[in-house]
């Protein structure tokens, strides 16, 4: 058995495999398929201060080796999460991370302050990169000033591990990564979805109700690996890599590029047990290559 444990800030993960927000519900949806306790961590659905209905249907379109979504942060709000969902998931022996979104800085702060009181939530992932909401969301994540402003406010409001999720829809992701790092956050995760669009040619209509949406799946992976490689070598905090990871090989690609941990997203839709297979693959890979500690291969490219 290779050592698969990794650290993000002060937080230890039993292995580097996490699930990506918005693709894994609250974990329980997958409990028929996997042992949630085996996950390094899981990031629950993007949570906002107030209930959000999200965007109208249709919200999804499959594209070659990818999918566009425009869910628009549908969720019942942080208070509902605390009262109705947290009690059901808090005893899962894994790192439970809440993804936080807001339209304004004060929204982010209010959600963070509430989550800070929950013992079993050890970290938050701050979403400054959702492409599917009209206000806030990606708007913060596309400028150094906006990204830093959210990071600063959240850092003050939340005392535990803060991960900031970056948007790939920018000219220079490295400068934004550095701006966020400067505010004292613990980690960066990347990439969120790439802004995309698809048209139903026969009906001459956009496939999504919102016209544009976020592209995920294997189609985005080379872009994600490149961005993780650039960012991981430019900052001094650990990076969590995601974007189109479908199997163990893909996950290791991100780690070699510099990711300390990975998040598995769209692949959960195809194979709800894929995370377990990725953990097993990592162990097997280390044994095959004589690697005693997976940390030894992080960022060697």
């Amino acid at each position: 058995m290779a050592r698969l444990e990794v650290k993000i800030g002060d937080l230890s993960f039993k292995n580097p495999v996490l699930t990506a927000s918005g693709t894994f519900g609250y974990g329980l949806e997958f409990s028929d398929f996997i042992d949630l306790n085996r996950l390094g961590g899981f990031v629950v659905k993007g949570t906002t201060l107030h209930h959000r209905e999200g965007n109208p249907y249709p919200r999804m379109a499959e594209t070659p080796s990818g999918m566009l979504n425009a869910v628009g942060l549908q969720n019942k709000g942080v208070d509902y999460f605390i009262e109705n969902i947290y009690p059901d998931i808090k005893d899962i022996d894994s790192n439970i991370i809440v993804n936080v979104s807001g339209a304004t800085i004060s929204d982010y702060v209010a959600v963070c302050e509430k989550l800070n009181e929950l013992d079993r939530i050890k970290a938050i992932e701050v979403n400054i990169s959702c492409p599917n909401v009209k206000q806030g969301g990606m708007a913060f994540g596309t400028t150094c000033e906006g990204a830093a402003e959210v990071a600063r406010a959240v850092r003050k409001a939340y005392s535990k591990t803060v991960i900031v999720k970056l948007s790939p829809n920018v000219t220079d992701i490295v400068s934004i990564a550095k701006a966020v790092e400067n505010e004292g956050v613990d980690s960066l995760s990347l990439i969120n979805t790439l802004l995309g669009m698809a048209i139903d040619v026969e009906r001459r209509r956009p496939c999504l109700s919102t016209i544009t949406g976020g592209l995920s799946g294997p189609a985005v992976r080379p872009v994600a690996v490149r961005m993780v490689w650039q960012v991981a070598h430019a900052v001094n905090i650990p990076v969590i890599g995601l974007g189109g990871i479908m199997d163990g090989r893909d996950a290791l690609e991100f780690m070699l590029a510099g990711a300390t941990a990975v998040e598995v997203g769209t692949a959960n839709f195809v194979d709800p047990a894929v995370t377990m297979k990725i953990i097993d693959y990592m162990d097997d890979y280390c044994n095959r290559h004589g690697i005693e500690d997976i940390n030894d291969i992080i960022g060697i490219i």
Binding site: G22, T23, F24, G25, E29, F30, K45, E53, G54, P56, Y57, P58, R59, M60, A61, E62, P64, S65, M67, N69, V71, Q74, G217, P218, M246, T266, N268, F269, V270, D271, P272
Partner: protein
Amino acid sequence: MDFHVVENRHIHELYSLLILKPAEGTLPELMPGQFVQVSIDNSKTTFLRRPISINYVDRQNNQLWLLVRKAGEGTRALCEKSARDTVNLLLPLGNAFSMPGQGASVLLVGGGVGVAPMLFWGAELKRLGFRPEFLLGARSANDILELDEFTGIGKVYVSTEDGSLGETGLITANTILSRHTDFIYCCGPAPMMKAVAKKAREVGATCEVSLENMMACGLGACLCCVENTVKGNVCVCTEGPVFNINELTWQD
């Protein structure tokens, strides 16, 4: 759960009937109205599973029937599967049709590939002592799917747009929909289901429809397949696919 393809019946240029058998063991409990998520491993461009409603469960032979319309790349690839190929299914998913009251008259309405869940449900209703009747609609006689199977269960009314079988016109104009029925179950294209829902209200029938919103996960995680209901946006995969029309915002 892995299944072997026992037979792929190419019943129509646009449809295949896949007869599947578990690679190991027996079928789990499956209810009419539920669906499966089929993994498509032989498509060059798609990778997501495809939600397909359960067409029929043949317990005696431990077989599951899926009626598949070649709607796009993924379903086309699925329809190319042949005997002895393997497909992976997540099942059972979603809710089921509600049981009608004792002795109720029931009409099962299927348009196009929407006939699929009605065969399993009709057979189950008959087994439980009901006398299900069917209304099937399509463009032409040749497009009415599984007519022999339906006829074996109960009386079948038909509408074809070209008049080649049954009444001429859209299924929603069939005279049987103007007769009182206690319970109408309906599956088909959204405009058709909305029109049937309206008819059901007019004749005072309880009505359930099976929606086929586009899905990614099928497990209630991705929130892509939502339908706007009186409770807000809900996942068709977990809260449905079967909805009472009073839960939907189709009141107009």
